[in-house]
């Protein structure tokens, strides 16, 4: 729906000049630049090659982080913004991952061995076309999943829905590991060695994949930010606050919940698809309850109902988890769990939420100290 005119408009409430915007968002831009430069900075500081060894590994870690951040963000769209407690988010992520992996493993080779799609000039673009088709397929599949979930959510509420969603995801999980489909899905082991097209293959060109993932995360972040800030996004929040009242002022919550579900599903599904490309695999873990729980943990850790929160949560979990593993060995989840519990008890609004609150308090304290700054 967005016209060119609106595209140039600001994301925040008031219209501002681009310069002004940049000033407001300097922190974000800086972080983005840092992330973009990260592979080179890391290689430079550690004195290693950008494409090998530890650099490569850290790029990998960051790629996972980017993907998980998007995934957590999509979850927050449901739980934080629309107030839907869903325990089935893995279905979207795993659904996306499996769709992509199955498509690349079983459909693409067959199709590309039979057909060739060329540009008028003669360039062979079969691979690209099929890849794009794969993405569209992912979107289609997870949209259907999202609609299924929202249909259920129209009928049952609260913890009952949480349980239903858990069950629906579990059903998908069971399908993904059912031996009946072992020829296609690899059952328990999952699909490995998915033939990812060379131009986006993470083992062949890790650095490129890093930027793809970064761009993906950025685009998704901007997209979600837009959605959250859009008229519809505001209605999501209203539904979270008081659904019956939303209906009484003239919105149809079923429709808006469906929108929320489908958007969250598509974003999570795309994250899943990218994850399957990144790992060149699709495994039952990706559809399992742990995957949902991860989303929940990342979201709450960072701060529910914010966009930066889930991203930060994903970062904490991926990056800090890595360090913990190094420091504490295989029992690191013990330490992580303890810290985690302490955080939940003492930082009730997540890292970001608490920071925002405190920031306000600090500001006031400072104002007080200097007699109204």
């Amino acid at each position: 729906m967005a016209t060119t005119k609106t595209e140039t408009q600001n994301l925040s409430l008031k219209r501002e000049s681009p310069l002004n915007r940049l000033r407001k968002e300097w922190a974000g831009v800086l972080i983005l630049l840092l992330l973009a430069a990260f592979p080179f900075l890391f290689a430079w500081f550690s004195g290693t090659s950008v494409t090998d060894g530890p650099s490569r590994f850290w790029q990998g870690l960051m790629i996972t982080f980017f993907i998980m951040a998007v995934y957590a963000m999509s979850y927050d769209l449901l739980i934080g913004y629309t107030g839907i407690l869903s325990f089935g988010h893995a279905a979207f992520f795993g659904g996306g991952a499996y769709t992509m992996a199955l498509w690349l493993t079983h459909a693409v080779p067959v199709i590309s061995s039979r057909y060739r799609i060329t540009l008028p000039g003669g360039a062979n673009i079969t691979e690209v076309v099929l890849f794009v088709a794969g993405i569209l397929l992912v979107v289609l599949v997870v949209t259907l999943l999202g609609l299924l979930f929202s249909a259920a959510s129209a009928r049952v509420r609260g913890v009952y829905f949480a349980m239903i969603s858990l069950a629906m995801a579990e059903a998908l999980h069971i399908l993904s590991k059912a031996t009946d489909f072992v020829r296609w899905t690899g059952a328990d082991e999952g699909l490995h060695g998915v033939p990812v097209p060379a131009w986006i293959n993470p083992t062949q060109n890790r650095l490129l994949f890093y930027f793809v993932a970064l761009a993906f995360a950025l685009i998704m972040y901007l997209l979600v930010r837009r959605i959250v800030d859009s008229p519809a996004g505001r209605v999501f929040v209203a539904i979270r606050e008081n659904e019956s009242r939303v209906r009484m002022i003239g919105y149809n919550p079923v429709v808006f919940r469906s929108i929320a579900f489908v958007t969250a599903a598509v974003i999570a599904g795309l994250a899943g698809a990218l994850f399957s490309l990144w790992n060149m695999s699709a495994t039952p873990t990706m559809t399992g309850a742990i995957m949902t729980i991860n989303a929940l943990i990342m979201t709450i850790l960072g701060g529910i109902g914010t966009l930066v929160g889930p991203i930060l949560g994903a970062g904490l979990m991926q990056i800090v988890g890595q360090f913990f593993y190094q420091w504490f060995g295989p029992r690191w989840p013990l330490v992580f769990g303890l810290i985690f519990i302490a955080l939940v008890i003492f930082l009730p609004y997540g890292v970001i939420g608490t920071w925002r609150q405190k920031r306000y308090a600090w500001k006031r304290a400072i104002q007080k100290m200097f007699g109204k700054g």
Binding site: V246, M248, I249
Partner: protein, 268 residues
């Protein structure tokens, strides 16, 4: 006194049963355009339930509701809202964690055509924001626009409740005990708002209220409900004099209200 107009809303043998309990018992009622029509009655008479039926919150067991001649009996509440019927609630029903402005803005946006714009910031739709500001001013919440609704004192919450309804620019307003839980000091301000709504000239109000002095002074018509049925209907004076009403609802304490009213009317 305002001119009575066309029939705006009509209920025909409307009935609602909860299990064995008949909360609304074959009620026929007509609301005329541009009137302030009060519904009074003892607790449990079925006033709130009647509102729930009229606004689509509940489905009647039987009977119809017509709005401007159109059958709206089984329409979902959001459709009814789109037809221009707004309601406020006896128990405050707002969006607690949103700002006052956002509460009202949402209501203003609801009936516009931009709800499904997913990729344009809500802030860029100035018209809704402007409307919201106007409503804030109208209900007297200036200066609190950016407070979270849950932090408002009770009286202000009641005002916000009203503001949410007003922002939808309904033609027909169903107000369920707007003064509930307000202290007497705050009531005049609310009366002021109601008067100003009526002064717009094109609004119709249905009011449920227990504060008799208020009801008597501002209503054009009063319907008295009792045990789900309509006990009496008429002008305030008629009602105040009605013996049945006195015994069923008003009691002795207000026996002298009728006399009181005669003077007041003169002043108005």
């Amino acid at each position: 006194m305002t001119v009575e107009g066309e029939i705006l809303l009509e209920a025909r043998s409307l009935r609602k049963e909860f299990g064995g309990l008949v909360a609304v018992d074959d009620v026929n009622i007509q609301i005329r355009e541009r009137t302030l029509h009060s519904i009074i009655g003892p607790n449990g008479a079925g006033k709130t339930t009647l509102f729930n039926l009229l606004s689509g919150m509940m489905r009647p067991t039987r009977g119809q509701v017509y709005y401007r001649g159109r059958d709206i009996t089984n329409l979902p509440p959001h459709r009814i809202a789109h037809l221009g019927i707004g309601r406020s609630f006896q128990i405050t029903n707002i969006f607690p964690n949103l700002t006052v402005l956002e509460n009202i803005r949402l209501a203003a946006q609801a009936l516009g055509k931009d709800n499904f714009r997913l990729f344009r910031p809500a802030g860029s739709f100035r018209q809704y924001e402007e409307k919201a500001y106007a409503v804030v001013k109208r209900v007297g919440l200036q200066g609190r626009e950016f407070d979270l609704a849950l932090n408002l004192p009770h009286g202000d919450k009641r005002k916000l409740e009203l503001g949410i309804m007003l922002a939808g620019e309904p033609q027909l307003l169903l107000l369920d005990e707007p003064t509930a839980g307000m202290s007497s000091e705050q009531v005049p301000a609310l009366l002021e708002i109601i008067h100003s709504i009526m002064a717009d000239g094109d609004k119709t109000i249905v009011l449920v209220e227990h504060r008799m002095d208020m009801v008597m002074s501002i209503s054009d018509r009063i319907t008295v409900m009792h045990q789900g049925q309509i006990l009496a209907e008429g002008t305030p004076q008629e009602i105040a004099r009605n013996q049945t009403v006195q015994s069923a609802y008003l009691g002795e304490l207000y026996g002298d209200l009728a006399a009181d009213l005669e003077d007041k009317d003169g002043q108005r």
